[in-house]
Amino acid sequence: MSDPLEVLAARAAREPFFLASVLAAYTRAEGLDDAGLAAALGCRVGDLTMIRLCLAPRADPREFWDDVRAVADRFGADATRLAEVVKHGRVVLRFQAASPAPGTSLLAARDADAQPPENPPEAP
């Protein structure tokens, strides 16, 4: 990893305000590499670094979708898939925070997130 921006994106995974943090939780839980994450988001591998460096979407449903759309539109990802990945990643993070014991299964987190994401609200 010699590109400083990639090093920054890796560092950003430790900060909850960066999208990198939830994407990292998702990829760890799913055992994905960059190609797998790009496929899950419907974007190019080359755009992952900048996507990781975006702000994590806010919690309020309307703001959540505004933020997801802003990132997806800007970097060519699929907004619905990005929303699913973010929600899944957040559940994993919550689960990890609640059960920090090493080797703990993440299946419960997956079960808890079984519902499909809310549909994006109609654009005004």
């Binding site: 921006l5 090093v7 960066f18 975006c54 997801v68 970097f75 005004p124």
Partner: protein
């Protein structure tokens, strides 16, 4: 070899306002815009420091800003200058930590004679560096004053709210006298004013080039 340029002061101000209003891609633009110039600037200032330290100091400065943009006061300094100060401070901390680690093993004379060693704080206070900082601050404050003077009263009020990180459109509407509008119409009007301010900042910056 030419150094990657920092975003211009007006670009920095627009980035900062976008970060304050939680534009989700603003942090990526800050990272993409400032990281390489910061690393190059640190390389000029501390050519003998470990390149990984320089990179990490630049990264920490940017991460800190993105996590807490309110720590930066746009009235006082250009965002680039603020990040340079923060990265410089972070590098000094890293070097001091390294020095402490080495002092356990290396002779004092070696540490004291290292150009990136014991006199780092003193160097920061040298007259040329102070003068450079003063000139930079004066340029920025002139830019900012002229920018505000070029705005209508309504735009100035909105700029102040944006700079304070106010996100609530109702507050903007009250300050701008936009009363009697339904929520969607109000939100559209507020967005229109904010966009006009960002455009004006960009135009103001171009006049200063």
């Amino acid at each position: 070899m030419s150094r990657p340029p920092f975003p211009s002061p007006d670009e920095g101000l627009v980035l900062h306002l976008r970060r304050l209003e939680y534009a989700a891609d603003s942090s990526a633009d800050v990272c993409g815009g400032y990281l390489d110039p910061l690393i190059a600037w640190l390389e000029d200032k501390h050519p003998r420091a470990d390149p990984d330290f320089r990179r990490d100091a630049a990264i920490e400065a940017i991460v800190s800003y993105v996590g807490n943009p309110n720590a930066y006061d746009a009235d006082k300094l250009d965002l680039g200058a603020y990040l340079r100060m923060a990265a410089h401070r972070d590098l000094l901390n890293l070097l001091r930590g390294e020095q402490r680690h080495h002092r356990a093993r290396v002779a004092w004379s070696v540490v004291e004679n290292d150009p990136d060693g014991g006199n780092l704080i003193g160097r920061d206070e040298e007259p040329p560096a102070l003068l450079e900082k003063e000139e930079e601050t004066e340029r920025w404050q002139t830019f900012f004053r002229e920018l505000r003077e070029s705005m209508t009263e309504q735009e100035r009020k909105a700029l102040d709210l944006m700079r304070d990180g106010v996100g609530c459109n109702r507050v903007y509407a009250e300050a701008l006298g936009l009363t009697g509008l339904v929520d969607e119409e109000r939100d559209r009007e507020v967005k229109r004013v904010k966009d006009r301010i960002k455009k004006r900042i960009e135009r103001g910056g171009k006049r200063h080039e």
